[in-house]
Amino acid sequence: MMQASAPARPIQSAMAAGPQVRGRRWQVIKRAVTARLAIVGGLVIAITGLMAIAAPLVSPYDPLRQDLANLLAPPSLAHWLGTDNVGRDILARVIWGARVSLIAGSGSVAIAVSAGSVLGLAAGYWRGLVDDVVMRVMDAVLSFPALVLALALGAVLGAGLGSVLIALGVVYAPTFARLMRGQVLSIRTREYVDAARLLGAPDWRILVRHVLPNAAAPIVVQASLSVAFAILAEASLSFLGLGVQPPEPSWGSIINAGRGYLQQAPWMVFGPGAALFVTVLSLNFVGDAVRDALDPRTRV
């Protein structure tokens, strides 16, 4: 095989020189663009986050204030994104809705990361019965389509942000448990873990000081990507009526309210829809950049 491949190399490299140079140049451009997209995405997230925090200050109107003289008003200087069927300012509702989306996205992922990491840590470190029980339960949770499980949990827990956080936390926890377990299985056999064990360190100390910090990178990557999907899932549940209840604004419920006025007032749907799309897209840009930064193998 070596003999056959050796003479082919110069020919191959000569043939490939042109495309390779072009390919390398493109790689550089692509990385720059990707990084630029991540910067743009980060900026959008930062602005959305600041708007959500400072909603009472930056919102042009009270999101619940009804202006019956301005029903279904199209976008204008007074109402940048128009008004809804009871005269509420859509922009104000989108700004206040950002709070719900960001809290739901980050809160549910925080719950999933915490629960999944603890379970994966225990399963991977202690193996045996703990591993079997934990991972079979995780497999069972993964046997439900995510939205259907969230819907079922939302149904029994009742509508509201708290239920959404718990439901999405449960739905996403197995992904983190599996990731953490995989990491721990490899880390627990490393020499520094053996050394700590020989020195008499208790299990909790080994886990917290040695295993957890070394297993964290893929969890961070997955968490950064999961926030976008959690925001989409919350919006879907709110759209179906299981999230934050009207008149409190959330992007999904604002879009659902606009569904019946698509012909007369499409801005009721597409303003909040654009906010949701841009936020999820930006989070994906940032998530991809975090992944590339922490795991160079995933660069294609």
Binding site: A8, R22, G23, W26, Q27, K30, R136, V137, D139, A140, V141, S143, F144, P145, A146, L147, V148, L149, L151, A152, L153, G154, A155, V156, L157, G158, A228, L232, A235, S236, F239, L240, G241, L242, G252, I255, N256, G258, R259, L262, Q263, P266, V269, F270, G273, L276, F277, V280, L281, N284, V300
Partner: protein, 315 residues
């Protein structure tokens, strides 16, 4: 191959047990009395007591689970509190539009994603590739209810080309049936197409760097023949896995799509049952959906072993 199937089926048994346990406990997670939650508006205490007895809530939890499990094994998934119809009957009535939607969406997604994934990989780092990857990103980030409303607005409200909320069975009236399913299937299909395009692109890119592809090129085979005969077959293996996993996305997407387009499918049935607090119906449908998901994953596992002998023999 038989061993592989047996291993996978055996591995599914504990998961099936836990899934049934989870679905059974679902109703017991309801804060307060589930009977009150379901029949809160009714003043008929006798009816409430009858339902309590029918659901076995007057018995210990373990007895309730054993009875419920026994009924499951006989194909009895319970009865809807609202319609009193058996869950299987309700699902049976609704399954056809859902299956038609799923098949139509899958066809649309494969028609778009296979050529786009191949073109993206074979024209890596060109404007065609950028188009493919941008499409994939758009499909993944676009909420399907927003896409559905956008399609309704453009093709239903403005252009008036397609109906927006009427279901006609394609087997009864093929033209109007396809027209009535077009927008929901595009909504569902585009999201799927995005994921498949992304997977096929990266899988094909990896395959195109393999030694056997280089050998085929050295032999002077045309690039199209290399892709068709050598690379694509191997690159499609991860796509099959993704297709199996996307069954869950398809069902989740169908819930939203059927809700937006008012299609009388299983997804709509779940939403209606949730709002009616018809917990036995929610339990039954969720269990059926989970069983379908497990079966599809099992099929994918087996197909994977069949397509790739390395998996078959390594276990």
């Amino acid at each position: 191959m038989g061993q592989l199937i047996l291993r996978r089926v055996v591995a599914t048994v504990p998961v099936l047990f836990l899934v049934t346990l989870g679905v059974f406990l679902l109703i017991h997670l309801v804060p307060g009395d589930p009977i009150e939650a379901m029949m809160g508006e009714s003043q008929d205490e006798a009816a409430k007591q009858a339902l309590r007895e029918e659901l076995g809530f007057d018995k210990p939890l373990i007895v309730q689970y054993a009875t419920w499990g026994g009924h499951l094994l006989q194909g009895d998934l319970g009865r809807s509190v609202r319609t009193r119809a058996p869950v299987l009957e309700d699902v049976g009535r609704r399954i056809r539009p859902s299956l038609e939607l799923a098949v139509f969406a899958m066809l649309i997604s494969l028609t778009i994603s296979i050529p786009m994934g191949i073109l993206s990989a074979t024209h890596k780092n060109t404007s065609i590739d950028s188009l493919g990857t941008s499409f994939a990103l758009f499909g993944i980030c676009m909420p399907n209810f927003v896409l559905a409303l956008l399609l309704i607005f453009v093709f239903g409200v403005r252009l008036r080309w397609l109906p927006i909320a009427s279901f006609v069975d394609p087997f009864d009236d093929p033209i109007n049936g396809i027209r009535s399913l077009a927008l929901p299937a595009i909504t569902l299909g585009l999201a799927l197409a995005a994921v498949i395009t992304r997977t096929l692109r990266s899988s094909l890119l990896e395959t195109l760097t393999e030694d056997y592809v280089r050998t085929a090129r050295a032999k002077g085979l045309m690039e199209s023949a290399i892709i068709r005969s050598h690379a694509l077959k191997n690159a499609l293996i991860p796509v099959i896995t993704v297709l199996g996993l996307q069954f869950g996305t398809l069902i989740g997407g169908a819930v939203i799509t059927e809700y937006v387009f008012a299609l009388p499918g299983v997804g709509r049935l779940v939403v209606d049952a949730v709002f009616a607090r018809d917990y036995p119906l929610v339990q039954g449908v969720v269990l059926l959906v989970a069983l379908g998901f497990i079966a599809s994953n099992l099929l994918v596992d087996v197909a994977y072993g069949w397509l790739d002998p390395r998996i078959r023999y390594s276990g």
